[in-house]
Amino acid sequence: MPSQSTLQPPTAAGGFAHKHLLGVEDLSREEILLLLDTADEFKAGIVSRPGERLDTLRGRTVANLFFENSTRTRTSFEIAARRLGADVVNFDAGTSSVAKGETLVDTAETLEALGAEFIVMRHASSGACEFLLREVRGSLINAGDGAHEHPTQALLDSLTIREALGRIDGVRVAIVGDALHSRVARSVMWALTKVGAEVTLCGPPTLVPESFSTFGVRVTHDFDDAVRGAEVVYLLRIQHERMDGAYLPSLGEYRMLYGMDSERLAKIGSEVLIMHPGPVNRGVEVTRDVMHSPQSRILGQVTNGVAVRMAVLALLEQARSSGAEVA
């Protein structure tokens, strides 16, 4: 599509050959960097021309299909799609916990009738996107599936790290918390290790089994060991219901072993970045003062979220129009 805008995605060698974004596991280092570079360009536009509407996706329909509530992610996708000139349809997919497989097939039929070129989906079941892609013709963007992947969150976190430190390659990152139940942890581990970061994963043995080393990360259960020398500490949300499955004795004990407070922060060093995908259990994973400290990148990543999602939509559109059939 011809464009008057300077904000078309760059066409790096190899380009972006995916029709869908199911997970970071499927992306190469070059593709991740291309997504981040593209997001950088879009971000410059967002900052300098906030009300601008591009025509990259003019005439295209983006369907937001959220089976789990997430106002933040859905809104971010919506803004990104509108800035690119797309029409946006928000599906009320129901918030009940029984909205499972059968509903998904029914919804797929509706989406086909609508002819949406892009489907952004969040679903409680791992693999829900892969299931849906067998049912629909549009491009699927995974906005979180069960405990499997949440690729756009990982891309936005990667962008945030690169902005703050100027690089990702060789950066020492400690990820702390409930990795077992976390799709964000999985996507972040794929993204960072593929681009060359040195990642250490840390948490109680019930939530951080040793087999996580298959992601190319070092696994430890000792907080001090994990954060020693770290440039980024990425804290994961701990769910209150983990006590029921006997994963944890108490949130108090979790905070004692793995919580980030100003005392621990001071020991690690003043330059370390503190990140968290949100929403934060204040006083459990991280204390309020650390959250609001200058090192914290917990709040205020909204712009990066929109920029990354614009990059994803734009590159998928480019791949679609060039006839890429790779999933």
Binding site: S126, G127, F131
Partner: protein
């Protein structure tokens, strides 16, 4: 579905008088037969085996030239869904599927509705098999009423009605004392107890075997101990009581070691393993992009990793595992057409068992054909202490014809089950079932090999 019904509606030929099976390569480890010979069937029994038998003596001829002839297979572990859940299978379709895989006897597990825990249901299933089935059905009755693990079922009456064994099929008997008394009681009756070794607290809401692939996919894991702990407990009970106990399916390396340990102590235990645990690993769930989260690979016990698969193969080789059982578990097609967490556990296995195993184990050079045939004929018969229907004069003529060594795609046209949840659909296999005879009567004839029925000479 219409295609499936059309297939199962294919006419079954009736046999008349003497049948001559000519030109096949007979293989039967029990009868010590391994070579080309003709086989004459009269009154449902093998009357003569020899070279160049006179076709003039036969009323009907089956041309088996270029094909292998094996004794009919016996499956110790299958779900036929009748009575109660006939949307996914019934005794008619289940036995047709069995015949299409070379099976002439199948054991039907008691997870029916009502549960097969009374002589009435055992008789019902046997009657249904005689009326609508095309191979033999042996109902395994529940060992506790309603499979609830509390009160013992009437084992003597169940044996009288025709159950060759008893056992609850959904999970382990949770109260070990109940199982211990069941074993004491069953020993006197000479009935083996079949066990599904699974601790539901450990398997919990797990979806596949715990490990790297479960972590990558974000699917909840089932640890090996969910099976191994029950194998240890139940083997100890069998050793103590002296009663025969059969583990329906062993799926991982830890269970194999425990089995080996208790067998060495003299515990009267036997065990089966499924074709999918011998051929596939948890990689089948990971698949490739667009095929990840493959619900046809969602089975219980879950598929292990390569070290488990290797341990299971070794266990069959050294006799720690006795036989191969399909765990044929039909599910209505739509029920598997959903996300991985919601889909039911289980795969159908009759039609694909031998082709999959031949391709992976025999064609690869790992096993002799004789070993595979033994594990599907003589070995399961021994678990039930039943005489095998062998390829020898005077024996019941239950046998199956296979073409081996030629690659072809395992497509839906090979299925006779009412369900389609077969993990081998679309795979290349190097064995094809051509025909199956049960007591001298054709139970299956492949349209590809015998387009006009089994009783006409092939071109």
């Amino acid at each position: 579905m219409t295609q499936a019904l059309a297939q199962t509606a294919a006419p079954i030929e009736t046999s008349k008088g003497a049948i001559l099976v000519t030109g096949g390569h007979l293989l039967d480890p029990v009868a010590r037969v391994d070579g080309k010979a003709d086989l004459l069937i009269e009154n449902g029994r093998v009357s003569r085996i020899g070279e160049g038998l006179d076709p003039g003596r036969a009323d009907q001829v089956i041309d088996a030239s270029g094909l292998m002839v094996f004794p009919g297979f016996l499956d110790l572990h299958a779900y036929l869904r009748e009575p109660g859940a006939t949307g996914s299978e019934n005794i008619e379709t289940g036995t047709r599927a069995a015949a299409a895989g070379g099976y002439t006897t199948v054991c039907a597990m008691p997870s029916t509705s009502p549960v097969c825990d009374s002589p009435v249901v055992v008789r019902y299933m046997i009657d249904r098999a005689e009326r609508s089935g095309c191979v033999e059905v042996l109902p395994i009755a529940a060992v506790t009423r309603g499979q609830e693990g509390k009160q013992l079922a009437d084992m003597a009456a169940l044996r009288e009605a025709g159950a060759p064994a008893v056992g609850d099929a959904l999970h382990a008997v949770s109260d070990a004392q109940v199982l211990r008394r069941a074993l004491q009681y069953a020993r006197e009756l000479g009935l083996p107890i079949f066990v599904h070794p699974e601790d539901p607290d450990l398997s919990s809401d797990g979806l596949m075997q715990d490990g790297e692939i479960a972590l990558k996919l974000g699917l909840r894991g089932i640890p090996r101990s969910a099976e191994a702990s029950i194998v240890a407990r139940d083997a100890a009970l069998a050793l103590e009581t002296g009663a025969r106990l059969h583990f329906a399916h062993i799926s991982n390396k830890d269970s194999v070691e425990i089995l080996r340990f208790y067998k060495a102590l003299g515990a009267p235990i036997t065990a089966g393993v499924t074709p999918h645990h011998l051929v596939l690993t948890d990689e089948a769930v990971a698949g490739s992009i667009g095929r990840r989260f493959d619900t046809s690979a969602k089975v219980k016990p879950p598929l292990g990793d390569e070290s488990d698969r290797e341990a299971l193969i070794g266990a069959v080789e050294d006799g720690t595992i006795d036989c191969i059982s399909t765990d044929h578990a039909p599910h209505f097609p739509a029920s598997k057409d959903t996300t991985f967490d919601v889909a039911p556990f289980g795969a159908i296995g009759f039609e694909s068992a031998f082709p999959a195993l031949y391709t992976a184990m025999v064609d690869s050079g790992r096993w002799t054909l004789e070993r595979l045939v033994h594990a599907m004929t003589e070995a399961p018969n021994r678990v039930l202490r039943r005489p095998q229907r062998s390829l020898e004069e005077g024996a019941e003529a239950s046998l199956t014809l296979f073409e081996v060594g030629r690659l072809s795609t395992f497509g839906e046209n090979r299925l006779r089950s009412r369900s389609r949840n077969c993990p081998w659909l679309g795979s290349e296999v190097s064995a094809t079932c051509c025909a199956t005879l049960w007591r001298g009567t054709p139970a299956f004839a492949s349209p590809a090999f015998f387009p006009n029925g089994v009783f006409r000479a092939r071109s």
